[in-house]
């Protein structure tokens, strides 16, 4: 008897069209939980070493979280996993929307695909069973159109995860889309789906999800909800920039409390940080070369929180979210509406390319969502191309006549349209900046801002070195959703796991840039904790409220009937981290190659702007981080015994 999870996965071999249901022993869930842990367990064992990520032997999975459908708030995230064609190693992408409970309503914790289909197909699962259906008539259509067509030919309540033309054309920066524009965008897993000729996964299940103690979950949810709903009136949108500027000038810093961020999120969504981030040095400008001096308050005013929100017709909530940071905006586009551009999108297509044209950002957000292409990687790659053009590495001939200068919004739009269609210069850039460097030539390398092949997100590690640590050490590199010093402050894990270091409420900023061992301890804690959140399917913004206010561990215990302590859960997180790292080693990745460009880590340090003079001894931080998990501090390889500890031995299955 088990609660919270369904105990089963569906495996689909697209080559033979064989669909199988597998029962996963309870022991596996106690060892790895569900979600990303379950995925790591399956993928580590089953993907043979060194396979082509776009070949038939790669396995890609869609997993739900342990808490999805249990009545826990913020439990609406689903994850796509597989060997990433972008980095060559562990790939994971995380997304909200309504797909996560749909997986469990079909009776599964995850759906895994192997093989390659001859013709385009989609998987349809309903209460009766699962079948592969022909998708030739949808192939080539954009994600929003495809979703509407699939809903109309299956059931009005179907939940759809679908790739767009970018994934079909095997663009290595393609993602997977649900709810008309929410994307599991990173790690290039859309290309894996495209290579398998799997257009979509369509789910329409109605199964119940059994929970050990629903009353307790509700009680915890209601306490959490009281924090979420506390929303005092705050300043007007453009004022946020001045607060950011103040934070830049002050020599001291207050430990960030998730409640502050929550209030911004609830009012504006992630866009609340658009200007503030630039001012405080958190947002990279001009392909990481510029600073708040190049992109001052006046220039970024066009994307101030209010300028974005004014198009919002209604708030968008993912499943189980009481906060609602998303929004549906009215636009001039195809359907007259689109998802509100997120902070990452606005900054990667805005400040990073010095583009102040808010209309172009709305348009690009819409066409990228429809094409199923990652906005972060697309923006990063465009910024790379602009820098190459400005430096004369790319000429007007190479760019098919486009004047790729900083902030030329018309050229940026034209370039991204070319990338989606893989036309001319677009074909060179459609696989991200690492592949483009290979095609353009070595000289371009200095402009490619990626870690292990993945374009970096819009958080500057020169401001918060924690980001740079996680860009480098995670099995899926270049991700901002795992940890940072600020994240550790917000998670407030020390309130539930007493071993962990407490953060001072007020401290001198200079302390952030000292590479002491505590930084590695807190970074490791972030990795472990986010693994647990991704096992549970919780939203990052939910867990930002703090471990006491968003009771992750208590929810997990109430849902499953287990009685694990927060420390025990964090040990599970560590186990998953080691297994993901071992996955990379198995596939021939040298963890030392996962380093962002020198510019990003402050070598040489910037001479002006918020992050001037800042540089941190990254190598020491990374060595210390590896030590936290018992990996070799020099190479980042998990030692044999730590892999053994992370793997479930045969006799531990308890079948």
């Amino acid at each position: 008897m088990h609660f919270g999870y369904t105990g089963k996965i569906l495996t689909v071999d697209l080559s033979t069209r064989e669909i199988r249901e597998e029962t996963i022993p309870d022991r596996v869930y106690e060892y790895y939980l569900s979600g990303i842990g379950l995925a790591a367990y399956i993928l580590y064992d089953r993907i043979p070493a060194g396979v082509d990520p776009l070949g038939p032997e790669n396995i890609m999975g869609f997993v739900s979280g342990l808490l999805a459908g249990t009545g826990s708030l913020f439990a609406g995230r689903w994850m796509v996993v597989g060997k990433s064609p972008l980095t060559g190693g562990w790939g994971e992408a995380n997304c909200g929307g309504s797909f996560s409970p749909a997986i469990k309503r079909c009776g599964y914790d995850g759906i895994f695909f192997t093989g390659t289909s001859e013709k385009p197909v989609y998987l349809y699962v309903n209460n009766g069973g699962a079948e592969l259906r022909d998708a030739l008539h949808i192939w080539g259509r954009d994600t929003v159109e495809s979703e509407a067509m699939l809903v109309s030919e299956t059931s009005a309540n179907s939940r759809v995860a679908v790739i767009g033309p970018a994934g079909e054309r095997l663009s290595l920066i393609a993602g997977i889309c649900n709810d008309r524009g929410r994307m599991a965008a990173r790690s290039g897993l859309g290309a894996v789906m495209g290579a398998k000729r799997l257009k979509a996964v369509v789910l329409d299940g109605k199964k119940r999800i059994d929970v050990h103690n629903r009353a307790e979950i509700k009680r915890l949810s209601q306490t959490c909800n009281r924090w979420v709903q506390f929303q005092p009136p705050i300043f007007a949108g453009p004022v946020a920039a001045y607060i950011g500027a103040l934070m830049r000038i002050l020599p001291v810093q207050m430990a960030m409390d998730g409640m502050v961020y929550k209030i911004l999120l609830k009012k504006w969504g992630t866009g609340g940080m658009n200007q503030m981030s630039v001012e405080m040095g958190d947002a990279p400008v001009k392909n990481w070369r510029g600073s708040s001096v190049d992109w001052g308050i006046k220039k970024s005013l066009s994307v101030n929180p209010e300028a974005i929100r004014k198009y919002e017709k209604v708030k968008y909530h993912c499943y189980a979210c009481p906060l609602g940071c998303g929004g549906i905006c009215s636009t001039k586009g195809k359907d007259g509406e689109t998802h509100k551009p997120e902070y990452e999108t606005v900054l990667s297509l805005g400040g990073l390319c010095m583009n102040a044209d808010v209309d172009s950002i709305f348009h690009l957000n819409d066409i990228l969502n429809r094409a199923g292409m990652d906005t972060i990687s697309a923006g990063g790659t465009v910024a790379f191309a602009i820098e190459c053009y400005e430096a004369g590495i790319l000429t007007k001939e190479d760019t098919d006549g486009l004047e790729l200068t900083w902030g030329n919004s018309e050229a940026i739009v034209a370039l991204i349209e070319k990338m989606i269609r893989r036309e001319g210069i677009g074909d060179v850039l459609a696989d991200g900046s690492k592949v483009a460097t290979r095609k353009i030539g070595k000289k371009a390398g200095a402009a490619a801002m990626h870690a292990g092949g993945q374009e970096l997100p819009m958080h500057d590690g020169r401001n918060d070195p924690g980001y740079n640590v996680h860009y480098s050490v995670e099995a899926a590199p270049g991700r901002h959703t795992v940890g940072a010093q600020m994240y550790y402050e917000m998670f407030q894990l020390w309130k539930v796991a007493k071993r962990l270091p407490r953060v001072k409420p007020l401290y001198f900023k200079a302390r952030k840039y000292i590479a002491d061992e505590e930084k590695a301890v807190t970074a490791a804690a972030c990795s472990k904790f986010m693994n647990i959140a991704n096992c549970a399917g919780l939203c990052l913004f939910g867990v930002f409220l703090g471990a006491k206010r968003t009771p992750t561990f208590s929810w997990l215990n109430a849902a499953t009937g287990w009685n694990k302590t927060p420390e025990e859960y964090l040990d599970i997180g560590a186990r998953i981290q080691t297994l993901k790292q071992a996955f990379n080693i198995k596939h021939g990745i040298d963890p030392r190659t996962f380093r962002p460009g020198d510019r990003v880590i402050g070598k040489p340090a910037q001479t002006e702007g918020a992050n001037r003079g800042r540089t941190v001894d990254m190598e020491k931080l990374i060595r210390d981080y590896y030590r936290q998990f018992g990996w070799d501090p020099e190479t980042g390889r998990p030692k044999e015994e730590s892999i053994d500890r992370a793997k479930l031995r045969g006799d531990e299955y308890g079948i």
């Binding site: 008897m1 088990h2 369904t6 089963k8 569906l10 069209r17 064989e18 669909i19 199988r20 249901e21 459908g69 009545g71 826990s72 708030l73 309504s98 409970p101 749909a102 309503r105 079909c106 009776g107 599964y108 699962v125 209460n127 009766g128 069973g129 699962a130 079948e131 592969l132 009005a156 309540n157 299940g205 109605k206 199964k207 119940r208 059994d210 629903r214 979950i217 509700k218 949810s221 209601q222 909800n225 979420v228 709903q229 919002e312 017709k313 209604v314 708030k315 909530h317 993912c318 499943y319 189980a320 979210c321 009481p322 609602g324």
Partner: protein
Amino acid sequence: MTVRNSVAMNMAYRITDKCNGCGVCMRLCPVDAITGSKNALHGIAKDRCIECGACGRVCPREAVNDPFGIPCIMVKKSLWENPHFDQITCVSCRICIDACPAYCLGLSDASTDGDPHARPYIADEKACIGCGFCARECPVEAITMAVSPGTQ
């Protein structure tokens, strides 16, 4: 190629030999768990049943036993309980919409009184089977199940 999925641990409703095969339950069942030919004893597929109890409420011969073996009593459709939403407590999390096996809940557009959040409501009252799953799963207890006053 198809595969049947199942949830082994769930208990299910059961049809007794009082059944005359009228087929009312079969038409109402939201998960197509009930099979049987006209005027013959019907059966409930255990692996499909989600225990919504709609068959028990609708059976004119009281031929359905709940998972504990207790015979269900027929209730007139107009006396079935419907969800009633407390819009002030509601947090727009969409859990109820996902929980509804009859697909009768919808999400409103943002209201005009300055509330930017879309709220759930009964979009298709006739389709509601009165299972109460929405109220059971609502994390903030914003849904009460009650007989709509107008329909009594």
